[in-house]
Symmetry: C2
Subunit: 229 residues, 2 copies
């Protein structure tokens, strides 16, 4: 672990939540690498807190599946295997399709308007060629659809699943040749929802994930090759 592990003092949250967010971010961005041990005293010193908030944060990470506990040895960052990522994507695919269908039923006119703007904003972001800007626009767009379902449990689950894919998001967006296709995919999803055509929206959402899956799998295999060398 490099020492980029820096606590961000959101003064109003309990320390455990600050630590939780910090560690989660570190894991998702790859700053804490799979297999790396999370040693309590070490983390406590590094973050300038006691062991208690560290431990409570680890309990949450454990339930989220980001770390695994080894009895009497402590926590370590969970391995990301191709299998585990395929499992996540398989569920995500269905959930995103559900989101699109529910959005067809329930989206308000205001949200539709916002979705249209988000599509345009995404197209603009692509022009900037700045991956971070593109990623942000992408998240914003999908968030509108997810929120439009009005199902808070679904929102929570999708967020958790997205999280697992986080570290591959950038790799996937780096492939500029896909950018125009992404704009088109978003357009199709948007228009299906406008028409309240559940089947079309569902299919478009699934296709969207399938394409991401291709890119992510490709990246994982590349990583694996690199690790061997």
């Amino acid at each position: 672990m490099q020492d980029n592990l820096q606590i961000q003092m959101n003064e109003f949250l309990p320390l455990r939540d600050v630590v939780f967010n910090t560690l989660r971010q570190a894991i998702l961005t790859g700053d804490l690498k799979p297999g790396e041990r999370l040693m309590e005293i070490h983390l406590a010193n590094k973050l300038g807190v006691s062991r208690t908030p560290i431990r409570e944060a680890i309990r949450k990470l454990e339930l989220e599946g980001l770390v695994i506990m080894i009895p009497r040895r402590g926590a370590e960052v969970a391995q990301i295997t191709e299998k585990s990522m395929m499992d996540v994507l398989e569920v995500r695919r269905t959930m995103d399709a559900l989101c699109a269908e529910l959005a067809c039923e329930r989206i308000t006119e205001e949200a539709l308007e916002a979705l249209k703007k988000a599509c345009d904003a995404f197209a603009e972001a692509v022009k900037s060629k700045d991956i971070k800007v593109i990623a942000k626009a992408d998240v914003a767009l999908h968030d509108i659809i997810v929120q439009a379902t009005g199902n808070s449990r679904l929102v929570q689950l999708i967020n958790n699943l997205s999280e697992q894919m986080y570290r591959y998001r950038f790799e996937y967006l780096k492939d500029c040749s896909r950018h125009e296709a992404l704009i088109e995919e978003h357009r199709i999803i948007y228009e299906s929802i406008v028409k309240r055509d559940k089947e079309a929206a569902s299919d478009a959402a699934k296709l969207h994930i399938d394409n991401q899956e291709q890119a992510i799998i490709h990246q994982i295999r590349l990583d694996k090759e690199n690790k061997k060398v």
Copy 2:
């Protein structure tokens, strides 16, 4: 809270996990009621442990959504509203359909054999008229299908969602008039999977949840009426 909160020390698990399981069970069975506060010292005394394992268990319950944290006031058991239950069921419906479809693709001959036996066992259990026995047979049957997907993330999510419905399971099975229909529904699901007919399996799984939904909603409305009086 009545004092049926009893820790089961037969485990070699860390205390936090024992406490976690104990509290979760208490919440799901309704022994700890929605809105009830979880006070650390009180629980610690009751379970004969210190505050630390209690706190760590609460962190996990928090992430599972079974308790909510009120800043500087501590944890209380989450309310179950009709809306939150509908949200869960809406997701469950889709996930169960996905399970059925994946099972069609991936189930092994051994698991198919086990599923057949589980169907028969359920029919037998119904004859016993013992709700607990029936519930157990029902869980076992569905578990075979879920496991057959080979998707561990999906298994985890379904378990979490089922959990939310736990306290209504018994009410739903109490309605004896539905028992024969349940056997028939299970049979249709089984036969669809045998034929590897994804669409039929998916439809059957959805219907199965829809029927549960009716019973659960009915029960919730009944509860609400009772509460008013």
